[in-house]
Assembly symmetry: C2
């Protein structure tokens, strides 16, 4: 694509670096910005720059935050005895949007994955173990994705916490609400039978 303008070419190149955005989409987005008031581009650039330069990660749970300690960790209504271990900040958002969890989080920053060159020391596992040793943590909930890497990470952390005075649990695997039973995979369906819950429990969940 010959864009006849270095400025345009440069902008299209930069936008097309984003995941899932090719040259054509980038061009469409950039031309859209050109048709809008100058102010829109300025606030877009400003917001991205400010985010990248000023964002902090909570010193306690490694969640994204505007301050040294995030709003969840400083919230006095949160149960500090409960720590939910998640892979990244999107998982925090997903769990928060359920409004069912009132404890704290611990963001690992990834999963143990030798293929991608991610070992236990690239994650914030040591920080989690230290927290359990120091603090009044009663229960650690594993909420990683049910993949090989997720299970490996769960198991590694579980081993690290062994012998410490803390309960460990994992989020329930089972049939999604609204799913047809016949289309569920065998492993999920099998686990959902093994880990069946008293019927009364299913009534209070929603």
């Amino acid at each position: 694509m010959d864009l006849s303008s270095r400025l345009l070419e440069n902008a299209v190149h930069e936008v097309s670096q984003l995941p899932g955005i090719g040259k054509r989409t980038a061009l469409r987005l950039v031309l859209h910005l050109l048709r809008q008031p100058k102010q829109q581009t300025e606030s877009l650039s400003g917001a991205l720059l400010a985010l990248r330069q000023e964002i902090k990660y909570c010193k306690n749970c490694h969640n994204i935050s505007d301050l040294e300690i995030c709003g969840i960790c400083t919230n006095p209504k949160r149960d500090k005895g409960l720590v939910c271990v998640v892979e990244d900040i999107r998982d925090v958002m997903a769990i928060e949007s359920t409004a069912q969890y009132r404890g704290l989080y611990h963001v690992l920053g990834g999963k143990i994955s030798p293929i991608d060159g991610v070992g236990p020391h690239d994650l914030t596992i040591a920080r989690l173990v230290a927290k359990v040793k120091q603090d009044e943590v009663n229960e650690v909930i594993f909420a990683l994705s049910p993949t090989i890497e997720g299970d490996t990470t769960n198991f590694y952390i579980f081993k690290q916490l062994e012998g410490l005075d803390v309960k460990t649990s994992t989020i329930a695997r089972g049939i999604s609400v609204g799913d047809e039973l016949e289309y569920a995979d065998e492993i999920t369906l099998g686990r959902s039978i093994l880990n069946r819950v008293p019927f009364e429990n299913s009534l209070k969940s929603s």
Copy 2:
């Protein structure tokens, strides 16, 4: 979506203003930038800002340009007697990428469309007519999309140019190269028969 960070929320909001990008995609893009080196966000913001603030529109043809007069208009190899009228700069890029056209362009900036509140005076039509009156333009080629608005615009310009010493033409409508005849719509197929060309011409086109 509660993002627990004003900076993040702001960035997601700004990115989701772009066409075809919703809140979820915006969040994915913004979190991607957070995982990349700071430099990537800086060059992205910089490129967008530079484009928006420094881009010029060619004084001659209204094409996008880094300079007062664009590279196509200043190119001495281009035939200045030929002017192709297009709707916007994307059409210039499309025609340029065919490498079949050696004349100049005239970018209208839109089509006459009363529904969208676009009248002839919102476009660069007067400038085109003035150019034809002054310059050595021999032929004006209409290359607008074959929609009602495109045809209206063509006709309006045609009327404006009437009586002036200039040839007018329109790009050929017909069956796309590679298309199956049976799936072509009747109007296109009908026109392609009415406007059939000598077989020799079809040989030199590629």
